[in-house]
């Protein structure tokens, strides 16, 4: 198998303004990602798991080309990523559907950006709406759809322009447990059918083991790759109750072991951040502007 994505010694800093009181301000760099190295193979389902605030979304932004690493580089098919492009599709946790467009028009959006003609666009969008099981809902607006259905539309939108890599940032985190499990198994089916390379971010251990061929475990901030675990199941979709398979349970526990210190550390960081919140809040705008 050939390497699709190669992340080499990637570092990412943010400059955060901090009030020291009395109108004094300092700009401190905080390190979000530190020395990330990871290779993702063509057609692989790679899951990245880590405590919240460890830099997962930051890494995904870098992969999407929405921001640039301060050090190191990310290569896609051997070429350094220069910016956003339709060869990568993103699915966000909060769906990011255009509320003024119907489900169908949302799916057509990326195709339009790609320059596909009107007729072809429509046909292709309908096909993908069908693929995600939303036939009959083409003309609904996002607010008329449930959370699970919105995420189906978002997945269809990203698949429709046929990217080589699908980047997913905690796409099922906002859904209820039942919908999440359904969408997980459907995502696997879509992956098997489309043979896309998928990088899937989550903070759920069970989700990571269920979906990933390999699971990269991240440390708390500054995020590093702590370990990459192989999950050796042949076909997840044919196995009846994968989640109670002893091998599954073993791997889940292994990842839990790797993560528990990190989660604790992340929570402590969160606490000290809250202590500084008074200082930080007044600078929220500046912080965002620095991203």
């Amino acid at each position: 198998m050939t390497t699709k994505i190669s992340i080499q010694q990637v570092h990412k800093y943010f400059r955060v303004k901090r009030n020291l009181g009395h109108l004094k301000e300092t700009v401190q760099p905080i390190s979000a990602l530190q020395d990330i190295n990871l290779e993702v193979k063509q057609g692989e389902f790679m899951v990245i798991v880590g405590p919240s605030g460890c830099g997962k979304s930051t890494l995904l932004d870098l992969l999407a080309g929405l921001s640039k690493p301060n050090r190191g580089q990310i290569r896609l098919d051997g070429n350094e990523i220069a910016g956003p492009n339709l060869d990568r599709g993103i699915v966000f946790q909060q769906y990011a559907l255009f509320p003024w467009k119907t489900a169908l028009a949302n799916v057509e959006f990326g195709l339009e950006a790609k320059g596909v003609g009107r007729k072809e666009r429509r046909a292709s969008a309908l096909e993908y709406i069908q693929l995600v099981g939303l036939a009959g809902f083409e003309n609904r607006y996002p607010h008329e759809l449930s959370g699970g259905m919105k995420q189906r539309v978002a997945i269809a939108r990203s698949l429709a322009y046929d990217p080589e890599v699908l980047l997913m940032d905690e796409p099922f985190a906002a859904l209820d447990a039942q919908t999440r499990e359904t969408l997980q198994s459907e995502l696997l089916r879509i992956w098997e059918a489309t043979k896309k390379t998928i990088i899937f971010i989550t903070h759920g251990i069970e989700e990571a083991v269920y979906l990933g061929q390999r699971v990269a475990v991240m440390t708390s901030r500054p995020g590093r790759i702590k370990q990459v675990i192989e999950v050796p199941f042949e076909s997840r979709t044919s196995e009846d109750d994968l989640r109670s398979n002893p091998e599954f349970v073993k791997i889940r526990h292994q990842i839990w072991d790797l993560l528990k210190d990190e989660v604790q550390r992340a929570q402590e960081q969160e606490k000290s951040k809250t202590l500084h919140a008074g200082n930080l809040k007044s600078n929220a705008k500046g912080v965002a502007a620095n991203g």
Binding site: P84, P99, K101, F109, A135, G136, F137, H143, M149, E186
Partner: protein, 286 residues
């Protein structure tokens, strides 16, 4: 690709579909009852108000000379309509008000979109715009009359002034407050800044721009009537002022009511247009 097994998805959507159709039926019934209730709630007070207006002067509770019964006012209005005076004044007023309003839209919306998009411009200009917005249009009416005289120009200019700022400020804030996630999502699909602006920023700002359009619509009438009362030879504001001075009290009331009704109609039309253009929105704040 299309032959992928999607049975689970179909089942799930069918399940969700069933749920939503039965929910829709309940919603519909609920909606009808609410609507009837709504109509009743809205009209009962107006009917009572009109009845009181009719009764109070007739029963001698108020002076009939200064406060004629509503039926007398209606008769006077009919007279004005037949004589053609009413139509003339209304056309004059509407021309001024729609003229100023349209000019303001043509200037403010493109300008607001540009300022909102160009962050630095927005930050620098905002304080000045706030000052202008908080300067009541009527307060500077004398300035307009000094500079532009008593003719049509000064009337259209004052309406323009009153409409420009709500439109401009709402357009700017509409552009500035587009959900960053939508921008991020569009950028990730490789949209150029111009397509991003055209396909995401503008449609996402429409609801906020409409808040400005409605505010401007309301003030265009308000300010115009006041301006016509101060210095004009025609228009509904002039009609009210003139009938008061010549002691045609019923005609004066007819003029006042006409202005309310025109205001209501304009607001209704704008709300309908808004509903059409933002039909994708979940709730309307009425």
């Amino acid at each position: 690709m299309a032959n992928v097994n999607v049975s689970t998805g179909k089942l799930l959507t069918r399940y969700e579909n069933n749920q939503s159709t039965s929910r829709e039926r309940v919603d519909w019934l609920h909606w009808t009852i609410t609507k009837l209730h709504h109509v009743f709630k809205n009209s009962i007070v107006i009917i009572t108000f009109l009845a009181l207006w009719e009764a109070a002067p007739r029963l001698g509770l108020v002076n009939e000379t200064f406060f004629p019964p509503i039926t007398e006012v209606a008769k006077a209005w009919w007279g004005l309509l037949l004589s053609g005076d009413f139509v003339d004044h209304t056309v004059t007023s509407l021309t001024r008000s729609i003229g100023g309003f349209t000019l303001a839209i043509l200037v403010s919306i493109p300008l607001g979109l540009a300022i909102g998009w160009w962050k630095t411009a927005a930050e620098y200009l905002n304080p000045l715009l706030e000052v202008f917005r908080n300067t009541a249009a009527l307060a500077i009416l004398p300035v307009f009359i000094l500079l532009l005289g008593l003719g049509e120009t000064s009337k259209i200019a004052i309406v323009f002034y009153a409409c420009v700022f709500p439109l401009l400020l709402n357009t700017i804030s509409g552009v500035r407050n587009v959900d960053p996630l939508l921008i991020k999502s569009a950028r990730s699909m490789g949209l150029s800044p111009i397509s991003l602006f055209r396909k995401v920023i503008i449609p996402a700002s429409v609801p906020t721009i409409f808040v400005g359009i409605r505010q401007a619509g309301a003030s265009s009438i308000l300010v115009l009537v006041a301006a016509e009362m101060v210095g004009a030879k025609s228009g509904l504001g002039y009609l009210i002022q003139y009938t008061q001075f010549s002691f045609q009290i019923t005609e004066m009331y007819a003029g006042i009511i006409s202005i309310s009704v025109i205001g209501l109609i304009i607001n209704y039309l704008l709300v309908q247009l808004e509903k059409r253009l933002t039909s994708w929105k979940q709730v309307y704040s009425e």
